[in-house]
């Protein structure tokens, strides 16, 4: 029988939730209009009728899903609106679609985004309050027992929140491709940021120079991302699919394209994509989102081109190509040396790190100290103390892959800690799925 609609080779689940009634502020890049043109393009293309593409509605994440990942001050109830619970809930819904084999892969095209949200949360950072990928990953681990997961962040901004949450977890490989932090928010994501003492080499940063185009991204995918993934052998690959590397994006300086994004996803073959940034709402998003969907679905994306696309315009200069090759080499070296520093760190038993976190949306700083309690049998638990001008968090956080001894030690330490006024004292135990405060 003749088929009158194309058929996707892969069964692909989509959540398209533009939240037309939510914004950070009316003229903010993260405003109601952001996914209007994307919605219009996807619907006009008739994607809803393509065989093997299924559209799902989001659901609301519960506060327990949030508290499994984040340490919120004053609390997740107070910080999150329904819009945040929906955008996080959408990732849980697509995760279930993939894990329950309802779909081969899935893409949550939702807002607000999440990859700048760190483990401690005092407010909105870089348009994000909670890290929707991390909430999804810990949900998957909790409900489906998946261990090794790779996150490839292709947003133009460094995925500093995701990096922060998984910094000391050797079972989560975090790779971020982004515009060099010397030239763009959040100003991090250098190669030397390579993971905590128990997971060194499992955070791979690929800072790319402004104006990197298709050739540069192709090179990074080919030389670094794919070989590392082949070696790490994750059970799931997640793409933090920001689309602001696009040549028309108003707040970044890269030269990537819809064709480039589609090719990247075809190569990466992620199980789940989650939309992150991307603020060229008319000239890029309708095309990049469509390109990514078609690539995931295994359909022909060769006709998905921006109206003013001209491949010749974006040829990279020779020097830039050489520079990017150098970044690739250094990143590969980081991965090759993975896990080597743990022996040395174990001798110290506890390793401290201090950092300053800037909340750009309302403009305040948080001083954070993390004490990694190391263990030969597991990544160990972490004691976090974070202080903002208005609140303080003091927490013990036990990762999903902690051993019973570390789990018990963290609980005992929490039990012995005296509550202090204005301080959230918390135990976050992902093994037992417990979040307690006092």
């Amino acid at each position: 029988m003749t088929s009158f609609m194309p058929r996707a080779l892969n069964r692909t689940a989509l959540i398209l939730f533009p939240a037309f009634d939510w914004c950070i502020s009316p003229t903010h890049p993260e405003r109601e209009e952001r996914l209007l043109y994307t919605r219009d393009q996807l619907i006009e293309e008739g994607l809803e009728d393509v065989d093997n593409i299924v559209f799902l509605n989001p659901e609301l994440a519960s506060h327990a899903d949030i508290d499994r990942v984040h340490l919120c001050a004053p609390s997740s109830h107070k910080l999150l609106t329904e819009s945040h619970l929906i955008s996080a809930g959408a990732t849980l819904r697509v995760a279930r679609a993939v894990m329950d084999k309802e779909a081969d892969n899935a893409f949550a095209i939702v807002r607000p985004p999440g990859h700048h949200a760190m483990q401690t949360v005092f407010g909105d950072r870089g348009f994000c309050i909670v890290n929707i990928e991390a909430i999804m990953i810990e949900y998957i681990r909790r409900h489906y027992g998946v261990k090794k997961i790779a996150i490839v962040d292709t947003d133009c901004h460094h995925g500093d929140g995701t990096q922060d949450i998984y910094y000391n977890d050797p079972d989560t490989l975090f790779i971020s491709l982004h515009q060099d932090g010397r030239t763009l928010f959040p100003g991090t994501g250098f190669i030397r940021e390579s993971g905590g003492p128990a997971a060194n080499g499992y955070t791979i940063n690929l800072p790319l120079p402004p104006n990197t185009g298709e050739d540069g991204f192709d090179m990074v995918m080919e030389r670094v991302v794919m070989p590392i993934l082949d070696e790490f052998k994750p059970e799931l690959i997640i793409n933090s699919a920001g689309q602001d590397n696009h040549y028309t994006d108003p707040i970044t300086n890269m030269n990537f394209t819809a064709q480039g994004y589609a090719r990247l996803n075809q190569r990466l073959n992620p199980d789940i994509c989650v939309l992150e940034g991307g603020y060229s709402i008319e000239g890029a998003l309708p095309y990049t989102n469509l390109g990514i969907i078609l690539a995931m679905a295994g359909m022909d994306y060769s006709h998905v081109k921006e109206p003013d696309y001209d491949q010749a315009r974006f040829r990279q200069p020779e020097e830039m190509t050489k520079y990017i090759a150098g970044v690739c080499d250094k990143a590969l070296e980081v991965f090759e040396n993975r896990g080597k520093s743990k022996e040395e760190a174990l001798k110290k038993k506890v390793v401290s790190e201090r950092k300053n976190i800037f909340y750009d949306t309302t403009g305040f700083n948080v001083d954070e100290v993390r004490q990694y309690h190391l263990c030969p049998d597991c990544p160990g638990f972490t004691e976090v103390t974070a202080t903002s001008p208005r609140a303080r968090i003091h927490a013990y956080t036990v990762p999903f892959n902690a051993c019973p001894t570390c789990q018990r030690t963290a609980r005992d330490l929490f039990g012995a800690t005296q509550p202090i006024p204005q301080t959230i004292t918390a135990l976050q135990d992902r093994v037992a799925d417990i979040y307690e405060t006092k």
């Binding site: 609609m5 405003r31 109206p307």
Partner: protein, 551 residues
Amino acid sequence: MIIGIDVGGTHADGVLLEGARLVAKHKVAVDQEHLSESIISLLGALVPNDRRQLERVHLSSTLATNAIVTGNLDPIGMLIQAGPGINPDFLANNGPTWFLDGAIDHRGHIIRDPDLRLIDEAVAAMLEAGIKSVGIVTKFSHRNSLHERFIADRLGARFPHICMGHQISGLPNFPRRVYTTWLNASLTARFAQFEKAIEQGLTQLGVDCPCHILKADGGTIPFARAIEFPCESVHSGPSASVMGCLALADQSEDAILLDIGGTTTDISLLVDGTPLLEPYGINIAGRPTLIRALNTVSIGLGGDSTVAFADDAFRIGPRRSGPPMAQGGTTPTPTDALVVLGLLAVGSAEKAAAAMQCLCPGEPPADTASRLLTAFAERISQEVAAMIDSVFSRPVYTVSALLQRRRITPEKLIVIGGPAAALKQSLENCFNLPCLVPTDYEVANAIGAARTQLTVQATLYADTADGRVSIPEISCLEDISNRFGMAEAESKLEQVICGIASDMGMTGRPTIDFLERLEMNVIRGFETSGKILNLKAQIRPGLADIQGEQP
């Protein structure tokens, strides 16, 4: 008085109504090859002696549906302009197709005009092939119809029928627009002949009142307008049955409507008393379309469905292999179960009991029969649950819409069709809801056709940053000021719908529902540069007010 005629595959039913009162009913066999003759003979039996009393004739027609099923369509040419997006090659599977190279974007901005040489080459090839009817569709023509109209102008008078996508529907979905336009163009010549034959027949009968055609959305359209949009006449059967149920058992809550026949059961849903529509349109011959239609699901389950019993479960349908055993058939059917339980008095009770023995040897036939009817009702109930789920899962795009979603909660069942009365108890038990079987249900469809009023839908897209408003259904593309707001948009769309309704012969002011209202600020560089307004409104499917005496 109104005549309603419902044409089915083998028979046509007609009724003459005075208000809601059934004055006369009649049935004739239908010859699909000579459809207009069958209809005229049925009309002849129904027209009142005083022709002046007849206000309207409402007709459902199987012409379009049959032409599609038998592949008996006019050869046409399609001119398609896709622009960036999914590879459009799959759209050429209908027949002769020419792709043009212009492009319009999601906001209706023209990116590139089509190359004139490509249009002219297509014209030459179509003339050479003897093509008389042409369909023209561009992507995003609901936002900007200029290219479709430009191409149509270029074709000029060289083709007797030109059909443009934007006129058929203002909804998005390019492949659906292509298929709907293709279907419409393919039916144009054939439908015009049919209209002529009916007109002649009516004249011979001395009838000169307006004649309307039933649509798939539970509404009607004047015959004269259906000539331009013959695709609207497709698949009107379920719509007649739903409107018939409404006419016979009017109600204002959520309800399940069932039309149980010999081989199939049609299911539809009422939400607050209004029939539920498909979000875009129905699928016809494997093609998704923008033909507005009621949301109905037809399952292969009826009184005469073949029944088998295996693994402790009944398998009912989807086929029918001859009459029930009670009536001399060879395979057990649900009808046999109804006979065994004394719910239906047809054929032989012994043979019906034998049918139950065939299914479950050694069991008392009455037990088997009641288990079979339970299974029958459960099958319908599963299907209803799936429908309600799928309506609940329709995509929403705002936080408030997501939080306010309401699941349809039926308060009752309204059931028509041959075995309806006999199945009442089983359905009530299974659904745990009251089940209503209206009287005169055997002519429900014809009554539905008679009582239905016209429906209209139109959409408006205004972009004040561009200073333009588009109402595709009337090919409107006008300049607007940057102060154009929601109130103006609503009143403009209301006027358009009233205008269309009055052109179609509606007297009095219709009730208009706004189905979608989107208002979005367009921000460029931290400044508001304008507003986008997107509205969809309709005259909803419903029963015409009854003039004169009440029953």
